[in-house]
């Protein structure tokens, strides 16, 4: 109990709350938004040639799309004016065009027949609907089934359910609402399974089988629903994943759901017959951040995928096939995300936070049209029995050759090529040491296992640095720990995965000050040859570098202390110690985030005998128009226009936004990049760790307090 702090906190919150009074404009804004929500609008085209529009008008019988239109009653009852825009382009009016859409409007389900542009209400569940998916292989008026996610009756919860062919609502799952991202739901291509995303404390994908085996229900015939006849299953998701789609993957017995994290397309390999389906990925590189992706699932039309990409200055929708790549128009009034795509062949629906559009094209990305789906807040394209018939089964898929990896510029979201490789594992150079509170762990291809746990109550590991001569079989490292009253330095050795040595370096000369970690990384840095160890501390208003010689342990009982040059303020965000061409001399490079629009790098030369002296003036690291936040040899983190982005130092032109989860809440929150190993560097942000390479950023698989990468090199330890 901290009664004094709690009392001060309550007083402060109460006082600050009284500082603000709502303005009269607030009600006007709420009223405007509420009334806008009620309005029914008519269909309208965003783009398209007059000639194409005329052709489509001739081809389609245009009937009202709006059944309930109190503010525009003439639309509800009469035939439309001859200026009414069609839903689809003439070019797309072929077998490539989907027959029906199921959409959510004002939390009601509506079936839209694209051939006649008519609509009819469907039985809908109670609650605010977030996402819908029409079951592939089902037919409107016969056996149409619709999976949905919605706000549950219990406040603070969402639920997943299926409306069966009789209109009955079957609840499949209920879970605490995530609050920021509405849960998504998708069907497997054969219509046998549904998958949904759930994210509360942890992110999961839920799986539930809602029909018998496909073999018992030949494709193209009615599937009998028995919701749910199998217990649901859950698979943990890496942080930041959003469920996009479930697609054919070309592997035996396996199917994939395309999702994305921090701008990558990620694929989850779901071996539904196995006890622990694997989560795997591919990383089709895109020039920009992949916001959302969806695949065209049928073989009847062009195979390919749609990708919504953020280039920093705007969104771009791309249609990508093995042979082609085209940009499609987006709605002029596309609002904020989260965005959802649903695709079938030459048609894709795009949904923002409040509205949806249908975008059609000629199959090659040409003659594209954007049609407003009139207040639809979720849409699903209905894939009829033909689509399921076309879809390869797992056995068929096993005969298919694996697809080539996606070209760096084309970003087909379903492209295979690096399957069975975890996002993190794909970037991880080898093994790593992890610190998690009192636990010291070793992470390698087999996962993470605890090597040691501090016994003192309240003690925790703070930082770890792996000796540069270490190998996966013999790791030497120093680690810092803090207890109740003091910080301490430890030397440890790990041989063949077993902790062989853990020594508390209790010489007073090696003891970090109690302020260690307040203004600098609580992690030492090794000299390139491993013959010295350095760390930075704050002492009063000064930043102090401490260096101690090392030969299988600290040499002597002295350390060198050097005040950093005046003007170097701010938080130490990275430290490197690099070799030079001048004999034993090496250089320490300390990079400080200053809070201004640049970072300051200080170089100090180590003479090989223990002497350290600053070299030249501090160097200002800048990125035009951006603020440099953290620097390593593989790249830097910069801030620009309220975004953080990773800029590769080794691959020209590679820049990508940091994952949303990696963006700190507060401007002064620390970002730090650890020493690089094997082309990867650990990044600490938002109290979590990430793995950064020249081309990608992936979340560390587990929340930890500190990490250090182990070199994969072969030089002896």
């Amino acid at each position: 109990m901290r009664p004094d702090l709690e009392r001060r906190l309550q007083h402060s919150l109460s006082e600050r709350a009284r500082d603000v009074e709502p303005t009269p404009a607030l009600w006007q804004e709420v009223d405007r938004r509420a009334q806008a929500h009620l309005r029914w609008r008519t269909w309208r085209l965003w783009s398209g040639s007059l000639a194409a529009a005329a052709a489509v008008l001739a081809a389609f019988a245009v009937v009202p799309m709006v059944l309930d239109a109190p503010e525009q009653p003439e639309v509800a009852d009469g035939p439309p004016a001859d200026t009414r825009d069609p839903l689809v382009s003439a070019a797309a009016a072929s077998e490539q065009l989907p027959g029906h859409l199921v959409l959510v409007r004002d939390d009601e389900l509506v079936l839209v027949d694209l051939a006649t542009e008519s609509e009819q209400p469907l039985p809908a569940p109670d609650g605010e609907l977030h996402d819908v998916a029409a079951r592939p292989g089902t037919t409107p008026g016969e056996d149409l089934e619709i999976a949905y996610t919605a706000t549950a009756e219990r406040e603070g919860h969402d639920r997943v359910g299926v409306i069966d062919e009789a209109g009955e609502d079957h609840v499949v799952d209920e879970f605490p609402a995530h609050g920021t991202v509405d849960p998504a739901v998708v069907f497997s291509p054969d219509g046998e399974w549904i998958a949904w995303s759930r994210a509360a404390e942890e992110a999961y994908v839920g799986l539930s089988r809602i029909a018998g085996p496909v073999g018992d229900n030949p494709a193209g015939t009615t599937m009998h629903s028995s919701v749910p006849d199998h217990p649901q299953e859950q698979r943990e998701l890496p942080a930041g994943l959003v469920l996009n789609d479930w697609v054919h993957d070309g592997l035996p017995g396996l199917q994939l759901m395309g999702t994305h994290v921090d701008g990558h397309a990620v694929q989850l390999l779901t071996d539904l017959d196995g006890p622990t389906p694997r989560l795997t990925q591919t990383i089709p590189a895109v020039d920009g951040m992949l916001v959302r992706a969806d695949a065209s699932p049928s073989r009847a039309g062009p195979e390919g995928g749609y990708a919504l990409v953020d280039h920093g200055d705007g969104l771009e929708l791309r249609w990508t096939t093995p042979d082609d790549d085209a940009e499609l128009p987006l709605p002029e009034d596309l609002g904020d995300g989260p965005y959802v795509l649903d695709a079938q062949q030459a048609a894709v629906t795009v949904t923002d936070e409040a509205a949806s559009w249908l975008i059609t094209h000629d199959g090659d990305g040409g003659d594209a049209h954007v049609a407003d789906l009139t207040d639809a807040t979720a849409v699903s394209i209905l894939r009829g029995p033909e689509a399921v018939e076309d879809a390869p089964s797992g056995d068929e898929a096993s005969d298919e050759p694996a697809e080539e990896p996606a070209d760096a510029d084309t970003a087909a979201p379903e492209a295979a090529g690096e399957l069975e490789v975890d996002v993190f594992e794909a970037l991880m150079p080898g093994s790593a040491l992890e610190l998690d509170g009192p636990q010291l762990r070793l992470r390698d291809a087999a996962g993470a296992r605890t090597l040691h746990e501090l016994e003192e109550e309240g003690a925790r590991w703070r930082g770890v640095a792996v000796h540069p001569a270490s190998t996966p079989g013999h790791i030497s490292a120093v680690a810092t720990a803090t207890g109740v009253d003091e910080a301490s330095l430890h030397h440890l050795e790990i041989v063949d995965g077993e902790l062989e040595r853990l020594e508390h370096l209790d010489d007073p000369a090696l003891q970090p000050s109690e302020h260690w970690g307040d203004a600098a990384e609580p992690t030492p840095v090794w000299s390139p040859g491993g013959d010295a160890l350095a760390w930075v501390e704050r002492e009063a208003a000064s930043m102090v570098l401490r260096v101690t010689a090392w030969d299988d342990g600290p040499v002597g009982h002295e350390r060198i202390e050097r005040d950093l040059p005046e003007g170097v303020e701010g938080v130490l965000v990275s430290q490197d110690w690099v070799e030079t061409d001048a004999g034993d001399r090496s250089r320490l490079r300390l990079v400080h985030a200053t809070g201004a629009r640049h970072a300051v790098a200080v170089e100090l030369e180590h003479d090989g005998q223990g002497g350290v002296a600053p070299v030249g003036a501090p160097e200002v690291l800048e990125d035009e128009g951006a603020e440099v936040r953290a620097v390593s040899t593989v790249g830097m983190i910069v801030e620009q226009e309220e975004r953080l982005r990773w800029r590769s130092a080794t691959t020209e032109g590679v820049e990508r936004p940091l994952p949303e989860d990696a963006v700190p809440d507060e401007l002064d929150q620390r970002l730090s990049l650890g020493p690089t190993s094997g082309g990867a560097a650990p990044l600490r942000s938002q109290e979590r760790w990430w793995l950064v390479t020249a081309d990608a950023v992936a979340p560390w698989p587990q929340e930890v307090d500190g990490v250090a990468l182990v070199p994969a090199g072969s030089h002896g330890g």
């Binding site: 906190l9 600050r16 709502p22 303005t23 607030l26 709420v30 938004r33 605010e128 406040e155």
Partner: protein
């Protein structure tokens, strides 16, 4: 099916709901975002969502629903908004919004200064516990997390507040003695 009279009646009735809850909502949003302008926008969006649900008669406790909508909306925006604080620090008093009646008091408030430096989840949990006076269970319900998570976030938030306040006191003391 809606009719215009029904819509107008709904609108008036919802205005009463708004009047009952909006002041508290704006203050909660402000404590979560530190920005009075953004607080209003958060509340506008939250009430729009409340309206959709309220129209269907699906809310038993409007106050709790508003609180949850505000917390969720503020959390969502805080993820994207952290840099705006830098700009806010450079605004003059008038530019910081007409609703801030005592900027100087806020600037002197060390606890408020420290609260704004908490990670988002810790800050939200602390505000719900100590401003909204919610129990751990109630805060957990608002945030869609377990009671244990709220307990842990609040505890860590208080730890961090103590550290920040202590560090600030040291700095002030050192500056004063120089």
């Amino acid at each position: 099916m809606l009719s215009l009279p029904r819509a107008e009646a709904d609108r008036r009735e919802f205005a009463d709901v708004f009047n009952e809850h909006h002041r508290r909502a704006v203050r909660l949003a402000y404590l979560l975002t530190s920005d009075p302008d953004q607080a209003e926008d958060v509340v506008a969006e939250a009430f729009t969502k409340v309206y959709r649900r309220w129209r269907k008669g699906g809310i038993d406790d409007v106050g709790a629903y508003v609180r949850r909508a505000v917390a969720n909306e503020a959390n969502s925006r805080l993820r994207r908004r952290y840099l705006e604080r830098d700009r806010a620090q450079h605004r003059t008093g008038d530019q910081r919004g007409v609703r801030r009646v005592d900027d100087q008091a806020a600037d002197r408030d060390e606890v408020w200064w420290a609260l704004q430096r908490l990670p988002r989840r810790q800050r939200t949990a602390v505000v719900l516990r100590y401003f909204e006076d919610l129990s751990e269970e109630q805060a957990a319900e608002v945030l869609g997390v377990s009671r244990g998570t709220v307990k842990s976030q609040v505890s860590r938030g208080l730890d961090r507040l103590e550290q920040l306040l202590s560090s600030e006191a040291e700095t002030t003391s050192e500056g004063g003695g120089a």
